[in-house]
Symmetry: C2
Subunit: 397 residues, 2 copies
């Protein structure tokens, strides 16, 4: 039985629901349920700009990648078990999901084009780090089109199944293809909350306090539908990640049950692996920091994941963003091969604790030749950032 | 030209030296050099208990592993290029170096026995974590004898080269062998300092302040000969690791040159890889914490280095040691396969910042399926430790 909540009425403290499975088993088709406490866990919804063809659906070879059902439909279509021969795939969007789907297609031997609006993939890292990612992704055989906007999908005649045939871009390109994946990110699922008058925050997601209470007595929210506090910028942001959702669910559950727990906010940590490239980021990127009002200095270093003389030493680039005046570490980004990505965790803990780059430089991080050079890449970057902070401080105003 | 400093005279502010290379090139054989400022960087010396045979030397097949020369002598002997056939190796000492040498020998197809005094290898981790290491090391084909003390080496007749034939243990075992490696750790090289009257600290290493100044005006020290402050126990300790030595050299150099820099102390982070097992530790072990006067709670969890459903998910165990009263994280240990070891860095930064396990539990660590389960093993361990702190707190006194 599939049931959808279609409305929340705060005055009568009820939710109204209706059956969506279409089965006729004699049970009620819709109803109203009263509540003392209500938890909104309405998740996120895929972003669907009003581009012709984006709503064509999986039968037309136009796939979203939000739900498990989306995943099996995509898999069946890629496998050819949906009855269509798929050789050329266009992925719209060069974020985490877009790149991960592109990798999965390349691994299957398909011809893959990723079309994205920004100049480099993964808008959450700085452009110079994004360049590294672009290079790596292209090196794996993905055709990456940056600075391009999709303006329409061309579908075949309905009589022939209406399958997608090509993607058209604003600059006039036509990309022939057999399948399209839409990886355009998500928006908070706030329809119910908005309808009920539960206030949203500055990010457009449901505003909650550290205990996951909304601004309406007895109404709670947790997960991808909620706003979280960014501990560096101090702003309310929408960061739809499973790790936050999971923690928030725990916090809401404890508090709903009469206990006490808090969700302490986020520092914007994220990680992904695209083909052989690992990408980690935490805190604010240069652009985010500037937008948040910081004057920043940055430092980037190229190093290796192990002592350089070890077999299997892999390249890693670490970039740090620091506040020019105080030297406070505002963010860090890591791009490299095997063993690179999870290094961002140490930086995340530094950002969490408001450490300065000078303090980071003194940290006691683990060293042995199979794991790092004597000066861990994170520490070298901190040293360089500390020098940049010092130089900025000595510059005439 | 090899020159050895043989004495420091603080009254006349001179060092006396002598040539040790035995060459006769007409140059002076010894001399005296005055100084305004003196830096002691005398390193560490291998520990050599007065056990019969330990001083036999590489010609007898008894090897230390301290210098590059030691390394090439050992390599030549293992290779057979020293003219001796080596099949059975005994490594005395189950610390980092002992285990790393054992691995190198196993990789060469040799029969290796490690003899060590403690009940589990790597005395710097708790026994239950050590058990995991023992199991893994044995699984790689190393014969590991724990709780055994070596009481003597049996050497062949001098006429036949005087090569080592067997190792005898206090419990009466005789271990026939062709080569012995002594991995018994090091002591601070303080002979010169002690001779000159430069004060040592509670650990027996040279006492220095945060700027690497000894207690004698104009005399500095850096590296493995010095004592460092442990930021958790507050005690002076001897932690002879390249990463500290390197940082201290930088600090001493900056200060000697008229600048300002400080060495902020250590939290006891260390890492090693033995065969396929990665071992990281930071802060205080249970025993160290209790010795430092803490009442501790511990929590250990078994998890995986990636989401459990990913191909290549590897086991990892994380153990945390926390202060029972405050919940402060005192230390952490990680043992696992590929991708496990460097996770200790995040814990090192937590310990550095005096975080409680409750705070650690809320951290924004990086999650994506190829890198961690949704709840990173570090966070699961923190959650379990926080529960233990809470339980201890509710227990009647």
């Amino acid at each position: 039985m599939r049931t959808e909540v279609v409305g929340v009425d705060l005055a009568s403290r009820t939710v109204s629901w209706r059956r969506t499975d279409g089965r006729r088993d004699g049970g009620p088709r819709e109803g109203v349920e009263g509540f003392d406490e209500l938890l909104l866990a309405t998740g996120a919804v895929p972003r669907r700009p009003p581009v012709p063809g984006f709503d064509a659906g999986p039968e037309a070879g136009v796939h979203g990648v939000q739900t498990l059902d989306d995943g099996s439909a995509l898999l069946a279509d890629l496998d050819g078990s949906s009855g269509h021969r798929v050789e050329r795939v266009v992925v719209v969007g060069g974020g985490y999901i877009g790149l991960e789907v592109a990798e999965a297609c390349v691994v299957r031997g398909l011809h893959v084009t990723v079309v994205q609006r920004g100049e480099t993939p993964l808008g959450t890292v700085d452009d110079d780090m994004g360049e590294l990612i672009a290079e790596a992704v292209r090196g794996e055989g993905v055709h990456l089109l940056t600075g391009e906007e999709v303006c329409g999908l061309e579908l075949g005649p309905a009589a022939q199944g209406g399958r997608v045939r090509a993607v058209h871009t604003a600059s006039g390109r036509e990309l022939p293809c057999d399948l399209v994946v839409l990886g355009l990110g998500v928006e908070p699922g706030v329809e119910l909350a908005r309808g009920a008058g539960v206030p949203l925050g500055e990010s457009g997601a449901i505003a909650v306090d550290v205990g996951q209470r909304t601004r309406v007595e007895g109404v709670w929210a947790a997960g991808d539908c909620t706003e979280v506090r960014h501990r560096v910028s101090g702003r309310g942001v929408h960061v739809p990640l499973g790790t936050h959702a999971n923690k928030q669910g725990r916090v809401a559950g404890i508090n709903l049950g009469g206990g006490y727990a808090t969700f302490p906010g986020v520092v914007g940590t994220a990680i992904t692996k695209v083909c052989r490239v690992e990408i980690g980021r935490t805190g604010l990127s240069t652009e985010e920091a500037e937008r948040a009002g910081f004057r920043v200095v940055t430092a980037a270093v190229d190093s290796t994941t192990t002592a350089g003389y070890m077999p299997g030493a892999e390249p890693v680039r670490v970039k740090l963003v620091a506040d020019e005046g105080s030297g406070r570490l505002l963010g860090g980004q890591v791009v490299g091969r095997s063993g690179a990505g999870k290094r961002v965790d140490a930086l995340a803990v530094c950002v969490w604790n408001n450490m300065t780059v000078e303090e980071v430089l003194g940290l006691d991080l683990a060293y042995a030749p199979p794991f790092a050079p004597v000066w861990d890449p994170v520490l070298i970057a901190a040293r360089k950032a500390a020098q940049a902070v010092e130089a900025a401080c000595q510059r005439p105003a």
